[in-house]
Amino acid sequence: MSITKPSLATLAGLAVLLAGVSVVMIFFVAPEDADQGLSQKIFYVHVPIALTAYAAFGLGAWKALRLLLTRGERYDLESYTGIHQGTIFGALTLITGSIWAKASWGVWWTWSSNQLVLFLVLFLFYCAYFMLRFSIEPGPRRERISAVYALFGVALIPVSFLAIRLASDFIHPTVFTREGPQMTGEMFAAFCCSWAAITLLAYVMYRTELAGKRTDLNLRALREALAR
């Protein structure tokens, strides 16, 4: 263990600590929103989760690109784990967004929230990634095909975003206004703290899953070697 790379346990402890601090900040430091009241608090969880999901998809695509360029086998598992975490956080974004929509607009789903629609499209896209991955025999071919599909994902994010913005012109002629007032200093601090906590949590989950998957692979290789 070196000083530059803290252990997983330390990081996990730090993530829990940060999450605790953010809960305190969200409920006791940040002022209540004048329009939405208590329900606005979910903003401090929903938006960081969404940003984390993007980051995880980006990480997955970056590792996929590294795989294609360097043919390093280990990037396959890293890319897969990144996308897996992204899908988990994407599902959480849909759930928290849905709860927020219910609290502030009275409906569980609204097509006028571009962010929610984008996450639905991405969720479908990345679910198909898992279907693709698990229907190809393990090997270099699967690694490369998964990597190419993961790269399509990062191109799809901005293109879909643009498409959904354009579509809302003819599906919903009225422009939806986001919450009016700007964030106060305390609100912003609470938001940043929560964002840091969730990003760190995602990173810890990513490292844990990766370690588990690697152990699994090593174990299988050992078993095969012993059986021979």
Binding site: V121, A128, L132, I145, I164, L166
Partner: protein, 213 residues
């Protein structure tokens, strides 16, 4: 450069010739798109208006392209001809480009029937709507021939292809419907052009990794 184009032309010609001899995809696509339009007539409520019909035209076009793409790599995967092709060509992306051009021709034929039929049954199509169809077809075929090559390497490819393809086709449907019904179709046509450029370049660059062992 001329070698590259000669390979592309030879590959596209091969697909067209195979189809002209066997005729197992094109008649199916034409019948499918007409049958879909008839189904839509009964699915649309009486006073639904033209806008809803334009939306359904795009559903019909996307699913028809899906039908063609499902068969696109059948000649190559049967008898392992793809390995031979990969070894034979000067550059592997020519296989993708040839397949995309052939897929465009395959999609064009049912459209030649479907668009007049749509104008006859439902609502008139103007210039921007036709331009939208042309631009979206390029995107559908460019992405579709790559994604169907991925699906061809997997088990259960018929089930997998729509799952891989539809999320990628959503922006094309947005652009296509927008160019048919919007009073300002230029934005949507520009968006379709952008989509075609981004995904064609990406597919062209990435195809090599999909087919090499």
């Amino acid at each position: 450069m001329t070698d590259y184009l000669a390979d592309v032309a030879a590959l596209a010609r091969k697909d067209l010739r195979l189809e002209l001899r066997a005729r197992d995809t094109l008649p199916a696509m034409v019948l499918f798109v007409v049958a879909t339009l008839v189904v839509f007539h009964f699915a649309l409520p009486g006073g639904a208006g033209d806008d809803a019909a334009y939306g359904l035209l795009w559903v019909a076009l996307v699913f028809t392209s899906l039908l063609g793409l499902g068969r696109a790599w059948a000649p190559e995967t049967e008898a392992g001809a793809l390995d031979g092709l990969v070894l034979a060509v000067s550059d592997r992306s020519t296989i993708w480009l040839g397949k995309t051009l052939a897929a465009l021709a395959f999609l064009g034929a049912p459209q030649l029937v479907a668009l007049p039929a749509f104008a006859l049954f439902f609502a008139p199509l103007d210039g921007p709507a036709l331009a939208g169809v042309a631009l979206a077809s390029i995107g559908l075929c460019a992405v579709g021939s790559l994604v169907s090559a991925m699906a061809a390497a997997a088990r259960g490819r018929e089930v997998l292809l729509p799952l891989l393809f539809l999320p990628l086709a959503i922006p094309l449907v947005v652009g296509g419907v927008g160019s048919s019904i919007s009073p300002d179709p230029g934005t949507y046509l520009a968006f379709l052009g952008l989509y075609d450029a981004v995904f064609a370049i990406l597919s062209w660059a990435a195809f090599e990794y999909v087919v090499t062992e």
